[in-house]
Symmetry: C2
Subunit: 210 residues, 2 copies
């Protein structure tokens, strides 16, 4: 198909497609004349992936480039691929090192120990989780281990379901894509479902007066 049809099929405007082509996010089409190229289904798929990473995942163009490079690298092992995804999507640390932060890191370590999770110390989410706990403490939230434990139990249920869904994908490419996109879109889906469940739990606990 020509670039105009690719635009209609993907819902991405022609100038934006040209920008992705120049930028290397989208592989070039097959030249049929010096000024005209043909595009295929793989371009429609790739544009969908780029838009999902940018819009739903909230990634920068630079992070999208990194993720696509990892997807396109045929030698990336699946477990390593997850590592690339984790590092690309981890928010950068915003709190400086402190004794307070070290206490939060120890709380996360104790949670991992209780639940028997095998996690390397360089996983950046360890720091992120500790920073959130520190911020909650600074805002005067009580430190409830039963609350943290519920979050751990829920994360375990979802990780198991994610990995099962990933393992059921047919091709290696779709497995890698499932890992990367599932990580981002899964966050968005879960945050929405959590808000729906909140409305239900809150209306039972704090019944509106009407």
């Amino acid at each position: 198909m020509r670039i105009g049809d690719l635009s209609r099929r993907s819902g991405v405007s022609v100038p934006t497609i040209k920008y992705y082509l120049r930028d290397g996010l989208l592989p070039p089409g097959e030249l049929t004349s010096p000024n005209q190229a043909q595009y295929g289904e793989e371009h429609v798929q790739r544009l969908g992936l780029i838009r999902a990473l940018l819009d739903v995942g909230g990634l920068t163009v630079a992070a999208v480039r990194e993720v696509l490079a990892a997807i396109d690298e045929p030698d990336t092992a699946l477990h390593k691929m997850l590592g690339v995804a984790q590092h690309s999507f981890a928010p950068s640390a915003t709190l400086p090192d402190s004794a307070e932060l070290a206490i939060s890191e120890a709380r996360i370590a104790a949670l991992l120990e209780r639940r028997g999770w095998q996690v390397k110390p360089d996983n950046p989410s360890w720091r992120t989780a500790a920073e959130v706990l520190t911020t909650l403490r600074r805002l005067g939230f009580p430190e409830r281990d039963d609350w943290l434990e519920a979050y751990g139990a829920a994360a375990e249920i979802i990780a198991e379901a994610d990995v099962t869904a990933t393992a059921s994908a047919f091709t290696r490419e779709s497995m890698v894509q499932a890992l990367v996109v599932g990580t981002l879109l899964g966050d968005a889906l879960f945050s929405a479902l959590r808000r729906l469940a909140h409305e239900d739990a809150s209306s039972r606990r704090f019944p509106p007066a009407d």
Copy 2:
């Protein structure tokens, strides 16, 4: 304390504090002379809340203003407050209405029905969840109801823990703050724990070759 001490206590620079004062995010201090004001503990607390909403929650200054106004309004009922928080934090719809989106909305409705959640149709997270499902389908993900069900089960565990933690707060103000901040920081905490659980589940399912 003077503005310099407030800056040291809160970790927020003096120019930024002045900007929040001009912008009405931070209530004015008590004037002790025409050019000098005294600030109290409530200013330290409020600055911590503003930074948490901006940095960890990723809200815009306009959204922070809306949330603070709701917190400061003494007549806001708790359940209604949750509604304000939900609407402020909901990403705006990015997909146009379509038959495809209607199918996804029906899948979310069926999930809510199975789990017995009481949720009003105008909760914006309904649309967000349906948009994520639609995006996943467009990217070629298999539509697994067992996967969606696991997300629902996990959301239920967390909503229950969140509401229990909120109900244990001592004052009405801290309850309201727990609802608002807990919604945002809870997302950040959960997303980090999910990545830690992913590493564990993935290393068991796809053992690295080494």
